[in-house]
Symmetry: C2
Subunit: 186 residues, 2 copies
């Protein structure tokens, strides 16, 4: 593993555990096994590091969402399973993406927000199409999207691979709950 990767892993872990503002440069350096000066040989600013973590994670999610095809219900189920799996397998990365956006400033913030909006568009489209096709029944599609995304993203806040819950089962459970809450025809 390269030093850059070690820095990145340390940052992901600490940002997730203590938050961006709760993590100091010296904490980061120690976790990566470097001095704080050497740290700057492998990264830009602390905010650069955060942006890069978020960009990588969001770009990966978007890439996976783009590959999803099928009818309205299939797409929604695939989105949920993919999202839940990602949040369970990489809880720290996704928790940082979901929770530290407010730490970004200026243009970087806009860039990351745009990526997030682009990703959430897949969800909105899947829900809207499902409603149009009368396969889903929701009072307000936008509210449904927000509620569904919060539910699925929340996985990163509690899931532990060491816990009793099998990951494949988990994605299936979430897909079933998603269909239920969206009033899918049974």
């Amino acid at each position: 593993m390269t030093t850059e990767e070690r820095v990145r892993e340390a940052a992901v872990r600490l940002f997730a555990e203590r938050g961006f503002h709760g993590t100091g440069i010296r904490d980061l350096a120690q976790a990566a096994g470097l001095s704080s000066a050497t740290l700057y040989h492998y990264m830009g600013t602390k905010e650069d590091l955060l942006v890069e973590i978020m960009r990588t994670s969001l770009t990966e999610l978007i890439g996976k969402a783009e590959q999803i095809t099928g009818d309205e219900t299939d797409r929604l189920v695939s989105l949920v399973k993919m999202h839940v799996r990602a949040h369970a397998e990489k809880p720290r990365e996704t928790a940082v993406v979901d929770g530290e956006m407010r730490a970004l400033t200026g243009e970087r913030r806009e860039e990351i927000v745009a990526l997030r909006d682009r990703y959430e568009r897949f969800w909105q489209d899947a829900i809207d199409d499902g409603v149009k096709a009368r396969k889903l029944k929701v009072a307000d599609p936008s509210v449904a999207r927000l509620a569904l995304l919060e539910m699925c993203s929340g996985v990163s806040r509690w899931y532990s691979p060491a816990g009793p819950v099998n990951l494949s089962d988990l994605t299936i459970q979430y897909a079933a709950m998603a269909l239920g809450m969206l009033g899918a025809a049974r």
Copy 2:
């Protein structure tokens, strides 16, 4: 409005917007219209302030949860409506409770975590009872509780009273989605 209340309101707003570690004593003082020295006349440490905000908010939620009665499904619906309403009416307080727990240290953390656990117990009991009574159908009641709570708490992350969504409608929508995702008999 007393000065203490002004300090508290400023703290809630800034903690919610920038996070605990992202909010400085001087930011707090300026928002409350005081000098940083005077601020300490009205509060203990910064962490004291955070603990008090969380304790008040959680105690209020628990108080409301205790008043809920009815059969299994009724209790669940009432919990969802109460929770969503609270998170929509006081999005900043609840966002602080949900998002800044990691900023607490030592015993204060344990105290607040205990309050949260006590509140979530109401949800677990309602779900478990519903499953026992065969009015709900979920694969794993604990996973269902976590998913449901994340969904409902997420309201504080996006709801705006100035937005197009009526609050009473919102609580009804969420109750319907909750019943759907838990496989309630229709």
